[in-house]
């Protein structure tokens, strides 16, 4: 499913059975099985096998399943894709993308694996991780490079290193990149996800960052600890006023639409049919956040 709620995408070391067995208890929107940074070089094979077995045997209760494969410059990524597609992964996250060609390279392998394992061709989605200055500059080209792309994500770790800076509480050093990446995603009509917040015990700093990226327009954030999940979900939950406004918009737009009227004003605000989608998204978010009590 290309469009779905992805507020929280939780990284898990694919090699750790204790983590992989039941991450759904924390209710993230997506889980990302990591075959890349979390797995030691001499454990890549067994992590891949563990991932395949987990995908085949565990009921993840409808949560989106994403795999982070190893880099396209490594000997591992092709086998990573084969194992993940054979297991029925929903989405392949390609690390350090810097050009549409990177997406094409991974896509070719995904298609081969789909054919090999009898998966409907085109079913497996992709997301591109943008982690370098060049990737940021090419973000729009990357974002519109494939029909399989459900979103792009920003990764700050490598980015700050290559920018010769460090991460600060305020995140000023990331602002340009974040803005560029979210602009590119929106322009390409796909989703956009923010980087991890690694100072797990700094709850206040985390809350500030989540508020910031929500305001910038991101759809969600990668996370590394389950305790970050309820915080994001709470911050992303619409307010009761927003829910009521969305309900009113949907009802009014539908009423006027019956009469063929496309633009009108409600409570002094101009509304048109183009706003329907945003209002519907708000109601879906309210439902996912467990706070919707209406009947839409």
């Amino acid at each position: 499913m290309k469009n779905r709620l992805r507020r929280t995408m939780m990284f898990l070391n694919a090699h750790k059975a204790s983590l992989v067995k039941d991450p759904y208890v924390y209710k993230p929107d997506s889980i990302i099985f990591d075959l890349e940074d979390a797995v030691a070089e001499n454990q890549k094979d067994s992590a891949r096998i563990a991932l395949y077995n987990a995908l085949k045997s565990i009921d993840y209760k409808g949560i989106e399943l994403v795999v982070r494969i190893n880099g396209l410059d490594t000997p591992h990524f092709k086998e990573d894709i084969r194992a993940a597609v054979a297991g029925g992964i929903h989405t392949v996250r390609v690390p350090k993308t810097e050009s549409p060609e990177d997406i094409f390279t991974a896509e070719k392998e995904i298609e081969k694996a789909e054919q090999e394992f009898g998966v409907e061709v085109g079913k497996t989605l992709m997301m591109g991780a943008i982690e370098t200055p060049l990737g940021v500059i090419k973000a729009y080209d990357i974002a519109k490079s494939s029909q399989r792309l459900m979103g792009i994500s920003f990764g700050a770790g490598d980015f700050v290193r290559t920018m010769r800076t460090t991460r600060s509480q305020e995140g000023l050093e990331l602002l340009a990149a974040r803005t560029q990446v979210v602009l590119a995603a929106r322009a390409a009509g796909i989703m956009c996800f923010d980087t991890v917040y690694t100072d797990v015990d700094n709850i206040e700093g985390f809350i500030n960052e989540v508020k910031l990226i929500k305001q910038l327009g991101f759809d969600g954030k990668s996370i590394i600890n389950p305790k970050q999940i309820p915080i994001i979900h709470q911050i992303f939950a619409p307010t009761q006023a927003e829910i009521r406004a969305a309900e009113k918009s949907i009802r009014t737009i539908n009423e006027y639409a019956k009469d063929g009227i496309g633009v009108f004003t409600v409570d002094g605000q101009m509304l048109d049919i183009a706003m329907l989608e945003g209002a519907k998204r708000m109601i879906e978010l309210a439902k996912a956040s467990g706070i919707y009590e209406g009947d839409l």
């Binding site: 059975a17 204790s18 067995k21 039941d22 208890v25 924390y26 565990i58 009921d59 600890n225 389950p226 305790k227 999940i229 467990g290």
Partner: protein
Amino acid sequence: MINKVGRNIPDELLVNGVEVFQGEYHFHNKEYTKASPTVRAFVAPGQDKLVSSLKEAIEKCGLEDGMTISFHHHFRDGDYIVNMVVETIAAMGIKDITICASSVGSAHDPIVKHMESGVITGLSTSGIRGKIGEAVSKGLLRKVAFIRSHGGRVRAIESGDIHIDVAFIGAPSSDVYGNARGKGGKSDCGVLSYSVVDAKYADKVVIITDCLVEFPNFPPSIQQVDVDYVVKVDEIGDPKKIASSILRFTEDPRELIIAEAAAQVLVNTPYFKDGFSFQTGGGGPSLAVTRFLRPYMEKQDIKMGFAIGGITKPMLDLLNDGLIRTILDAQDFDLASVESVNSHPRHFEISTSQYANPFNKGSFVNNLDFGILAALEIDTDFNVNVVTGSDDGILRGAPGGHVDIAAGSKCTILVAPLLRTRIPTIREKVTTITTPGESVDVVVTEVGIAINPKRQDLMDALQNVKLLVPLRTIEDLKNEAYALAGAPEEIEFEDQVVALVEYRDGTIIDVVRKIK
């Protein structure tokens, strides 16, 4: 003979009036004659109770082969008393001694060699961890051990099932005439609740302290009228391991889900109203429930009438903020609780008999609305194991007050993860039954909440409530655990019984056999 929870208790163990478990309230209204100790009158004034050494105290008590000695576990992992006494007894050449302790743990690992040599041949305890548990499970103790709950232990003492010849009571402070307290010294533990009954029912009572204070040491937990001798030693324990400066709350997100869901269950039962009463066990998620409870109490202006059991700072915070009216304390886990007990006007010390003895004229657990308890294993009949390990069947747990709280509370809520290191907690059959399913009302895991079908009223109260995790059947939870980890393989034991698991009323609910 098969008992009420379906366990086969070997007939040869059912002697001297010992019966199999027949239900949690089977002996309600039972009449019996209490035991009484043999007391040496201390008529002449001016006699000193202070003796120069532990050895002298043991000699004066007339300790002989075959006798029973008792200990408390208020010093927990920091305890020096048990090892000190047993070493002295061994050096004196005394053997065939039974230890009647409120709990033993890894602090007492050195005792194992005295079990092997025959100095210690019997054991009655409410908790058994560390190398002693392994040794008993391997059949190294010459007599069958008794696992008794805290309430069951004092019942056994008061009813004469077990007779204590000499009680050795470690005390953070004492005067020379034996008024002993849990505080006022350099190794404070707060209360001496577990020893109060020992002091009343043992023939001889020895106070061991590292802090002699001016007479009278008041208010005393152990009174001079019950004490024969006082010994001053260098150290009774390691203060750092007796009471932590800060007991860290769990930050494990899985345990927090369980704790929050348990709090949601609690506040949506009819018992959550002003004046309710509450006890938690000492495990991570159990203690965390208190944290989630506070906002509900504040929002609905509900105060807790009383809290009992093991006390921690979060409970004191509620007391100090006026959200709890009274704390009844049988054990202190952190320095804040030690500081507060018997100092705060509404924070009182109680004896273990007051707390949980089923055979007195009504213990405090009978007045409990809620008990929040952990479990190592829970079966689909809601029976609980808190004493043997799931992976190897070795004694490594502590029924403590579990059985007593479960029987007493109107609503007993068990908090447990679905799996522990890939072994199902919720399962077809538990390794050992310590607490019968009839005492358990709700099981809360991170994936679902199961209500005991006998509690249709709780089902009705909760079925339309928005809960963090859904209501499911216990079979459904078991199935999910088995789907994730496979059905657990049954542990193989030898026939030899190494420990009896006594229900709190003295009947046999299960046995623990020697490991292969």
